[in-house]
């Protein structure tokens, strides 16, 4: 991969956010994923050069964190929560059924490159269990059928919108750019809060 001068300028702006430049390594890795789709060796070399580190130092950081992928993932990366609460509430059945449906296992990608699958740990949405994340957007209260429909939609370029998120689902690369701190201007879309988040407030207004 080669990187445009615009890419380089963006990287410089990421580095400039921090008092010490090494702190920029994580957003830079997210940024490489936004361009290349995963953490490529070219990306590692560029980050190393920018931060005056050895490539081994950048690789050591990259391989520590599960969100940095050493191989390509799908345009839509589907994470099924299989931590205890979600697993018990149906995450195990969801994972099995979508894995069978797609014919791929954990950390694998469909042949068309559209969908990849990952068993993920708790994603801080337990009151919406079972939870599925696609490109790290919330899909709440899922069922085996809803996730099959979701991946079918994704494969035909028409994925459903997240439950609490933007009006339409963005791609893996697009969302990786957001995590690098590059705004896509979509913060205003979507609900303030889902119904379970507001339940206590609602009851208190009813005097309960």
């Amino acid at each position: 991969m080669s990187y445009s001068s615009e890419n380089i300028a963006t990287m410089d702006s990421i580095i400039a956010r921090y008092p010490r430049k090494r702190s920029a390594i994580m957003p830079l890795l997210h940024f490489v994923q936004a361009i290349d789709g995963f953490v490529t060796s070219d990306g590692i070399e560029l980050i190393a050069k920018k931060l005056e580190l050895e490539t081994a130092e950048v690789t050591a950081v990259s391989t520590f964190y599960t969100q940095y992928k050493s191989e390509p993932v799908g345009e839509y990366h589907v994470g099924v929560c299989i931590n205890t609460l979600c697993a018990v509430m149906g995450g195990d059945e969801i994972y099995k059924s979508v894995s069978d449906h797609l014919g791929i296992g954990n950390d694998e990608v469909t042949k068309d490159g559209k969908v990849s699958l990952e068993r993920i740990e708790c994603n801080a949405a337990c009151d919406y269990a079972p939870v599925v994340m696609v490109n790290w957007e919330f899909f709440d209260n899922q069922t085996p059928q809803s996730v099959k429909d979701l991946v079918d939609g994704a494969r035909t370029g028409n994925p459903p919108a997240p439950t609490r998120g933007p009006k339409s689902l963005r791609t893996w690369k697009e969302n990786s750019a957001v995590l690098a701190g590059i705004s896509d201007g979509l913060a205003g879309e979507g609900v303030s809060a889902g119904e379970p988040s507001k339940l206590g407030l609602k009851l208190s207004k009813e005097g309960k």
Partner: protein, 433 residues
């Protein structure tokens, strides 16, 4: 009168609650103005006097933490907000940041002013893109409104605020691992002392606080210490977010004074799902020893939960009914700890691996009762033997489940298989048993 006390969540039902206009309409940023007119030490004293304790799990007094920062030391100080919420069951900070990010930013302005920090960071877990968007927009809007940056409110106070996405490592919720991660290293805990208050980010005095702790500060400044102390119990003051998930009719967030009980919260959640009864629950995430039906009336404050043998933790109440196999639940949590062990300390790295092996055998009904003792023996050899508390967290579900449900482990061995039907536990199994 309602037993609930929405403060942080008071406007989550407004469509624009996450915007700066929505926040200001409800009095937002007045507390920052008040605080910036105060002496910085007086702000610290006020937070100390309020009795606010850390809402991220450990319950350490927030004002005292601020007071540990050496002043007039000629060094840069930093405030780092821990938004790496990932303790299993914990789901309060993400909805808070999605619906009300400005409460955190206002708290950051106040806290940074108090500890004399001119640089603050929000370390947000990376797997929540829409939360990132909301916080990022809120920061941009706060800068545009002159609430961040140079000479805030014309008071001569400068503050830069940086949002930093993590990348999927639970251990970065541990404050020293978080600091290593933020410095650009693998997120592995540091040996203490020195504590972050002396040598934190870039070896400078640093306060690390949970999202909810910092977001609670503006309300305390605005309404006063007496108001805050009118809620809660003797040593656990104020309001907090309780998160109910699992086999209840209506899961969700309930903001209430500290000391409410699960019996009261369950009633608000509509009770257990139809036709089922409570079997076990966690008071504050998977790292806190589990409770059973006999703990329904334990006051959910730091002391009450501690006296009953667990920890208040993150107030993540994961509720499981009688269809749930406790061995399966514990195995899955243990797999989590194995996956998330950073690998730095041998007892944790190797021990969690062995615990998974042992529990897999037990869940499948293979082994003898001697293996149950072996399980506890492994736990003894990892708990309290590492730099951080991850291994202690791994021990909690095992030790507590063996305490209350040893016969259920034994039943797996007697039958040679798991006696439970996992489908019966699912949300889509329907509400009938």
């Amino acid at each position: 009168m309602s037993k609930l006390s929405p403060v942080l969540s008071a406007h989550w039902d407004e469509a624009d609650s996450f915007t700066i206009d929505g926040y200001r309409r409800n009095g937002g940023y007045n507390a920052a103005k008040t605080a910036l007119d105060m002496d910085a030490d007086a702000v610290i004293q006020l937070v100390k006097d309020s009795g606010l304790r850390g809402r991220g799990g450990a319950g350490f007094p927030t004002g005292m933490k601020w007071g540990f920062i050496p002043q007039n030391d000629g060094k840069d100080h930093y405030l780092v907000v821990n938004a790496d919420e990932s303790e299993p069951g914990t789901c309060k900070d993400m909805p808070l940041l999605m619906a009300n990010p400005h409460s955190l930013i206002e708290g950051i302005i106040i806290a940074s002013y108090a500890i004399r920090a001119n640089y603050a960071f929000i370390y947000l877990r990376g797997e929540v893109v829409h939360v990132y968007r909301r916080v990022q927009q809120a920061i941009q809007d706060a800068y545009a409104a002159g609430l961040l940056g140079k000479n805030i409110n014309g008071k001569g106070f400068d503050l830069e605020l940086v949002l930093h996405a993590g990348a999927g490592a639970y251990i970065c919720g541990e404050e020293t691992a978080l600091l290593d991660s933020l410095e650009g290293f693998r997120g592995q805990p540091r040996l203490r002392p020195p504590f972050p208050a002396i040598a934190g980010l870039y070896a400078r005095p640093t306060v690390v606080n949970n999202v909810e702790s910092i977001a609670s500060v503006p309300a305390i400044i605005a309404n006063g210490v007496e108001w805050f102390q009118s809620m809660g119990t003797e040593k656990s003051k104020g309001f907090t977010l309780y998160s109910l998930s699992g086999h209840v009719k209506n899961p969700g967030q309930f903001e209430a004074p500290l000391g409410i009980t699960l019996r009261e919260l369950l009633e608000m959640a509509g009770g257990m799902r139809e036709g089922h009864e409570l079997k076990f629950w966690t008071p504050g995430g998977s790292s806190t020893p589990m409770f059973t039906q006999e703990h329904l009336d334990v006051p959910l404050d730091y002391e009450g939960v501690g006296a009953a043998g667990s920890m208040l933790g993150t107030k993540a109440l994961q509720i499981f009914d009688e269809t749930t196999c406790v061995v399966r639940a514990v195995l899955r949590w243990t797999e989590f700890y194995k996956h998330e062990s950073c690998g730095k300390c041998t007892p944790c790295r190797e021990g969690t691996w062995w615990l998974v092996q042992a529990l897999k055998e037990l869940e499948a009904g293979r082994g003898t009762s001697a293996d149950l003792d072996k399980l506890l023996d492994i736990v003894d050899n990892i708990a309290g033997r590492s730099f951080c508390a991850l291994a202690d967290g791994a021990a909690s579900p095992i030790v507590s489940s063996m305490k209350y449900f040893r016969t259920e482990y034994q039943r797996h061995l007697d039958l040679g298989s798991c006696p439970f039907d996992p489908i019966a536990s699912t949300l889509f199994a329907g509400v009938h048993s």
